[in-house]
C-alpha cells in the first residue's frame, strides 16, 4: 500500500458536511471514488456525489432501515443490507438507481457486508446467527456458515480472499474457509462482551473487524468497561491478534473516552489502524500503531458518528452522523 502524498492523520480536518433528513447509520465509498452511499433511520438508500455532495434518495429496496452497504470491485454495483433481512443490488452510477434484484437473505437484520478482494463474492452476517456467501454477479448463494450461536455483528474477508472472519455478540470470532466453511481459527474476543447480571443483559459484541493488508494482524473492535450497558457507559476497545498464532498481542485503548464504542476499523497506508468511536464522549477518529496500546492521535468530529469509510485515495474519510450529516474529512493538512 503506497502512502499518498500529504498523508498525515495529525492534520485531519473536516472538509465537507452534507445534511440528510434522518440520522445516518452507515456509509461506504464506492471503489471508483465517485460516491458515498449511506443508510439512515429510514428505508431509503442515500447517495452523495463527490465532491459536490449532490444527494439522490434511492427508494424501493427495503422496508426499513439500511445498516450495511458494499460494492462490486468496479463500483458499478452497490448492495445494501437492511433490517428487513433483504439484500438489494443497485445500478450504482445510474442517475436514478433502481433495484436490480432483491433477495430475502436473512431472517432478521443484516448488520454487516463485505466483498472479496477479487470482487466476485459478497459475505453477509445478521441476526439469524448465520453468515452467507453470495455470488455478487447473480445473487446466488454460495455457502452459509452456521457456527455462531448469537447475532453476527460483523463480517470481513481476509485479504487473500480465501477466508472470512466473522464476529458475534458474545465475542465469538471465527475465521473460516469460503469454499468449505471449515473453521480455520478461532480467536478469544470475549473482552468485547460482558453480561450484566443486575440489568440482565448481554452487551458489547464485535462491532468491527479488519485484517492488515499483509495478513499478519487481525483487529476486532467494540467496547469494554460496560458498567452501565443500558445507560451507554462503556469505553472503546480494540483487540490486536496475531492472525497466525491467534495470540492476543495488545488491547488498544483510548484513555479519557469514557463513553464510546468502536464502530469501524480500517488499516491505513502507513500501517497504522484508524478506528471510529461514537458515544456519549462524542465522535472520534482514533489512530494506533500496532506496537503501542494507546492511540498516538485522535481527531474529534463535530458530533457522534456511527460508521466510517476510507476513500480509495487513502486521504478522504466519510463519517455517518447522528446529527443527520455525512461528513468528509481529510487525513492531510488543510489546503492553503
Amino acid at each position: 500500500m503506497t502512502i499518498p502524498e500529504g498523508f498525515d492523520p495529525k492534520q485531519a480536518h473536516v472538509v465537507s458536511q452534507w445534511p440528510h433528513d434522518r440520522p445516518l447509520n452507515a456509509c461506504r465509498f464506492d471503489p471508483a471514488g465517485r460516491f458515498v452511499y449511506c443508510g439512515s433511520e429510514d428505508a431509503a438508500v442515500e447517495r452523495f456525489n463527490l465532491p459536490d455532495g449532490a444527494r439522490t434518495i434511492i427508494n424501493g429496496g427495503h422496508q426499513t432501515w439500511v445498516k450495511a452497504i458494499a460494492f462490486s470491485k468496479d463500483g458499478n454495483i452497490a448492495v445494501s443490507g437492511g433490517c428487513d433481512g433483504k439484500l438489494t443490488w443497485w445500478d450504482s452510477p445510474a442517475a436514478e438507481p433502481k433495484p436490480i434484484r432483491s433477495i430475502n437473505a436473512h431472517k432478521g437484520w443484516i448488520r454487516s457486508l463485505d466483498v472479496s478482494p477479487d470482487g466476485t463474492l459478497l459475505v453477509s452476517g445478521g441476526n439469524d446467527n448465520v453468515a452467507r456467501i453470495w455470488n455478487i454477479s447473480d445473487g446466488s448463494l454460495v455457502y452459509e456458515f452456521t457456527e455462531h450461536t448469537r447475532h453476527i455483528y460483523c463480517v470481513a474477508f481476509h485479504p487473500d480472499g480465501l477466508s472470512v472472519i466473522s464476529g458475534d455478540l458474545i465475542g465469538g470470532l471465527k475465521q473460516w474457509e469460503v469454499t468449505t466453511g471449515n473453521e480455520v481459527r478461532t480467536f478469544d474476543a470475549t473482552p468485547l462482551h460482558s453480561y450484566n447480571g443486575g440489568q440482565q443483559v448481554d452487551f458489547g459484541g464485535i462491532r468491527a473487524i479488519a485484517v492488515s493488508p499483509d495478513g499478519k494482524w487481525l483487529v476486532a473492535g467494540g467496547l469494554h468497561k460496560a458498567s452501565n450497558p443500558l445507560g451507554a457507559v462503556h469505553e472503546p476497545l480494540v483487540l490486536l491478534f496475531d492472525l497466525e498464532t491467534q495470540k492476543l498481542e495488545k488491547q488498544l485503548i483510548a484513555e479519557g473516552i469514557t463513553q464510546g464504542v468502536i464502530w469501524r476499523l480500517k488499516w491505513l497506508s502507513d500501517g497504522s489502524i484508524m478506528g471510529l468511536s461514537g458515544g456519549g464522549s462524542g465522535g472520534f477518529l482514533l489512530f494506533w500503531k500496532p506496537d503501542a496500546e494507546k492511540d498516538y492521535h485522535r481527531f474529534q468530529l463535530p458530533s457522534l458518528a456511527r460508521d466510517m469509510d476510507v476513500h480509495p485515495d487513502g486521504l478522504q474519510v466519510a463519517t455517518a452522523h447522528y446529527d443527520r450529516h455525512l461528513r468528509i474529512s481529510r487525513l492531510a493538512a488543510k489546503a492553503t
Binding site: T64, W109, Q199, L230, G231
Partner: protein, 430 residues
Amino acid sequence: MKINYACRSTEHGMARRQFLGSMAATSAGFVAGGLGIFANRAVAEQLQSAQKRIVVFNMHGGLSQLESWDPKPGTDTGGPFLAIPTSVPGIHISELLPQTAQQMHHLCLARGVNTSEDDHGKGAYMMLTGRRQTPAGNFPQLGAVAARALTPDNSALPGHILITPGGSGGRGNDSAYLGPKYSSVYLGNGNPPQNTTRPDNIVEASDVARQDFRRHVNERFLNRRRTAVTEAFAYSYEQAEQLMRQRDVFDVSKEPASDVDRYGTHDFGRHCLLARRLLEQGITFVQLSHSNYDTHNENFNFHIEQMGEFDRSFSCFVADLAARGMLDSTLIVVLSEFGRTPNINQYYGRDHWSKAWSVCLAGCRIPRGAVYGKTNANGTAVEDGQVDHGALFHTYLQAAGVDSTGSFDVDGRDMPIADPSAAPVSQLLT
C-alpha cells in the same frame, strides 16, 4: 393497636386447631398440576367456578410500546422493526412478538395510556397502586388488594406472590394499611419460599414438639394481649408452617419437561411456568418481572433479546390458560412503569415516556381480540381512548369481580379499594 374483630376477615373466628388441621389435610391431598391441594371439595369447586386470579407481568424498566404493542413502522420514530399481522384481522403488533401475535384473539391492548410520570419509582408505584405517592400515606399494591379481596378466607396458601428475577426471597412491604398478612411472599429467582425446609439437625418429633409448645405459649399470651401486631406475628408462624408443608406447590421442577422446553429454559420461561403452576394451585395473585427494558442505550438490540424471551414464554402462558379454561377466571396484565420515547436518541436508545404508551390485558371481563385507545401517527401523543393508572387499577379489579368503588374495613375505618377520584374504563370491560 387493638385488633378490630369486626373486620370482614374470618380467620380470627376460625379455631386455630381447626385451621391447622385443615391445612394438614390439604397438604396430604396435594396433586401436582391440579386443584388437589384443596381437600375441601366445595372450596375447590368455588375456586374453579368463581375465584378470580390476577397475574401481572411487570416489564421492569419501561417496555417500549413501539417495539411491542403499538408499532409505528416507516415513521421517523418507528425504529427498524416492522409490524406484523395477528390472529385478529386489522390488529398489528411488533415483529418482535410473532408468537404472541398468534394469541391476539385472547388479548386486549390499551394503546392510550398517559400517566404523566417519567420517574421509575413513582411510575411503578402509580401503576401498582393506582394512585400517586403522597407524603400523607401509603397505599397497598394490586397484589395486596387482590389477596385481601379475592383470596378465600380458608386458603392454605398466601394470596400475594412475587416472582423476582433474582434475590433470595422473603417478604415484601407492599400491603400498607391492609397489614402484613397481605404482603407479598417473594420467590427469589422462582425458588420456593425461604426457610421452608426443616433443618437436618432437627428431627420431625422435635419439630412437632416445639411447634406445639410455641402454640401453647402463644395462646396464653394472646388471651391477654391480643393485638394486630401479635396476631400478625402468630400468623407468620402459621403461614410458614403451611409453606413448609406445601413446598411442592412452589416447585416448578414438578412440571413436565416438555412444558419447560416450550416455555424456554431461561429464567423467565421458568418463572412463567411457575406462575401457571401457582395460579392452578389457587394462588390469587402472582406478579413476575422481566428485565431490563430501561434501554436508553441500544434500545433495539436489547429489545430483540428481551422480547424474544418474553414472546415465547408469554405466548405459551396465554395459550395454556386459554386451553385449560382459566382465562375466564384469570386476569392477565402486562404493564411497566411507563413507556419509552418515540424519539430515538444518539445511542440508538429510547428514554422514559409516559404520555402515550400501552398496557396489554387479557382474561376475566376484558374483551378478547380488541384494541382500545389510539396514538397519533408517530406515537408522540394519545389521540383517542386515553386512560391513566387510576382508571386502569379500577379496571383490573372490576375485571376480576371486585367492586373497586367499595371500601375495605380497616380497624373500623373505610379505606377506598381504589382511588375514589378515578373510575373503571367501561370500554375495557365486557
